[in-house]
Symmetry: C2
Subunit: 338 residues, 2 copies
């Protein structure tokens, strides 16, 4: 450690539209010292997720907004470097926390989850973490996934979407996904083995593309909103269900989006659209991780990661989510696991 410093990223100003690097500030400080009962953690990976854009707005929502000048928050996995007589966490333990956007932190242990896997411990920020749980809860609890469902997943190669696709495939459903490049679509077909893939950038008429790929969707897992929700509403079968997980298309909009223009289909087709937030379902975490580990062990679950190096590039990683620069889970590597 020696003369090493701690670095963190703070919100400098609230973005207007797409966040810009100047909305963030990199701040250097001393590495903190753990008091009695505290641990010092060095973060190895942090997560950037689309929902973080919402917390940059100054308005009441399901989670408190980020404050100007304060360190940002988000999922991270790190290693306990020093335990100052904390009974639960020892030096060498790997821990998941919501203390991302900083290289080092001290903690009394609240909100830390010990994880066992040293290799690929960043999986606890993706497939075995919140994004995986989001897909699991969305498909099973909110969507009520059934074997004969005809499933459409938007942003299907993303951290949540790829898991959602595979949960539905493992259940025996037919699945079509959308993504933003031919390479991502190839991954969907070849690696996730879903039944159809739509590169949405290549279709002016997404409704027609979806109707062609899967007429009569019964379950739509929505990560995108806007144009994708509109296409799904056009294509869906009567009595279909929409799992409203995210609407990334509009997170940066200053004005509301022009789509969907066909919301009346909710009435005409007797659809049910249901929103959810994963933090309401943390009681499912244990069951989810048990199932997920089994699927992984059986070779029934695969995923991609995009890893950006260095905390100074974390803002860029977050911004890149909104143009699809990530392929799968977007992570920032904060340090080597020495």
């Amino acid at each position: 450690m020696g003369s090493e410093k701690n670095r963190d990223i703070r919100l400098k100003r609230r973005p207007s539209g797409l966040p810009a690097p100047a909305d963030f500030e990199l701040v250097e400080s001393d590495i903190p010292t753990p008091g009695p009962g505290q641990v010092l953690v060095r973060n190895l990976f942090m997560s950037v997720d689309p929902y973080m854009r919402g917390r940059m707005r100054d308005r009441k929502s399901y989670i408190a907004p980020f404050q100007i000048g304060a360190v940002l928050q988000g999922g991270a996995v790190g290693k306990v470097v020093t335990s100052n007589a904390n009974a639960d966490f020892l030096a060498g333990d790997y821990v998941v926390s919501m203390n991302g956007w900083r290289e080092w932190f001290v903690s009394g242990g609240e909100g830390l989850q010990k994880v066992e896997a040293r290799p690929d411990m960043q999986v606890y920020l993706g497939t075995l973490g919140m994004p995986g749980l989001t897909a699991y809860v969305g498909m099973l609890n909110i969507g009520g996934l059934k074997e004969d469902d005809r499933v459409f997943v938007s942003a299907a190669s993303g951290a949540v979407g790829a898991i959602a696709c595979q949960i539905a495939k493992n259940k025996g459903c037919r699945v079509v996904g959308s993504a933003g490049s031919d390479e991502k679509c190839a991954f969907l077909l070849e690696r996730l083995k879903i039944d159809g893939a739509i590169n949405y950038r290549e279709h002016d008429d997404l409704s027609a593309a979806l109707a062609d790929a899967m007429p009569g969707v019964t379950l739509y897992f929505d990560n995108v909103g806007g144009s994708h929700l509109e296409a799904a509403l056009d294509d869906m079968a009567e009595f279909g269900r929409i799992v409203a997980c995210g609407m990334i298309e509009q997170y940066n909009a200053s004005e509301g989006p022009p789509a969907p223009r066909n919301l009346f289909q909710i009435v005409a087709k007797r659809l049910t659209m249901r929103g959810f937030i994963v933090i309401d379902h943390l009681d499912m975490m244990e069951r989810f991780q048990r199932d997920m580990k089994e699927w992984i062990a059986e070779g029934k679950m695969t995923w991609r990661e995009t890893i950006v190096d260095g905390i100074e590039r974390a803002p860029e990683a977050l911004i890149g989510l909104f143009s699809g620069e990530n392929f799968g889970k977007m992570l920032v590597k904060l340090s080597d696991d020495e």
Copy 2:
């Protein structure tokens, strides 16, 4: 009857935007003669309803589109004038049918429902008919109305809305409604005895008006869509439910509507929005009519009607629905009950 003629209204061309009188055609013909086993019915009242606008479009939906040159269809109540040996219907019987938009018709009895009440038999086109059943099913089956719900109903003085308000009041809920005039709002407060009324024409910021009248709506019964749905999404409590019954604001739109712009609230507030169509729930009709007759007998249900005279004015009556010219159930009187 003598030299009397039958008159009906046909779809002359598909409307673009708001229907115009020239989209309809009045056609005269001989009064038909009932064959063996048939009855001749003279209609007394017919119903005009917002959903009919949807059937004027040439596109697949939950109900077949009207055909150019064919007589329109809709609810009607009439009197059997001649029964040619039909065992179920005798001269003098009152019957509800879907054979509106014509003064006379013959039928073998299929789709006719005998109704007993001679005075105010038009109530079977409103409070005791499809609009009443719509409110009943929407509130109880789709909305899962509970005593502690904080209910918002749009188009609250209309045929469906007024019943929806009173079902919620009878259950003990707090209820706020919106309507398009001060007179209608006075009716909501004084006659329906709901807790708040919003004249939406007097508010630029409907979200603020609703938040003022009832912060934290838990159940929104939506008849309007667009601006009203947007206000509800802004105001609703977490885990609220939206009963998607109708979206009259957009039935005449050629382009889709720009609102609601805040659909992401479905995710953020974990809302459930569920559409329904009353014809899926006709099995509830008997139970509904039993409950409704009891409420009426107990003085717990009131409503308004706007009656337009003469089949030639039926197009005008339908068109008037979209600017709120009706006060309560809009009916066309086709003949006196002689």
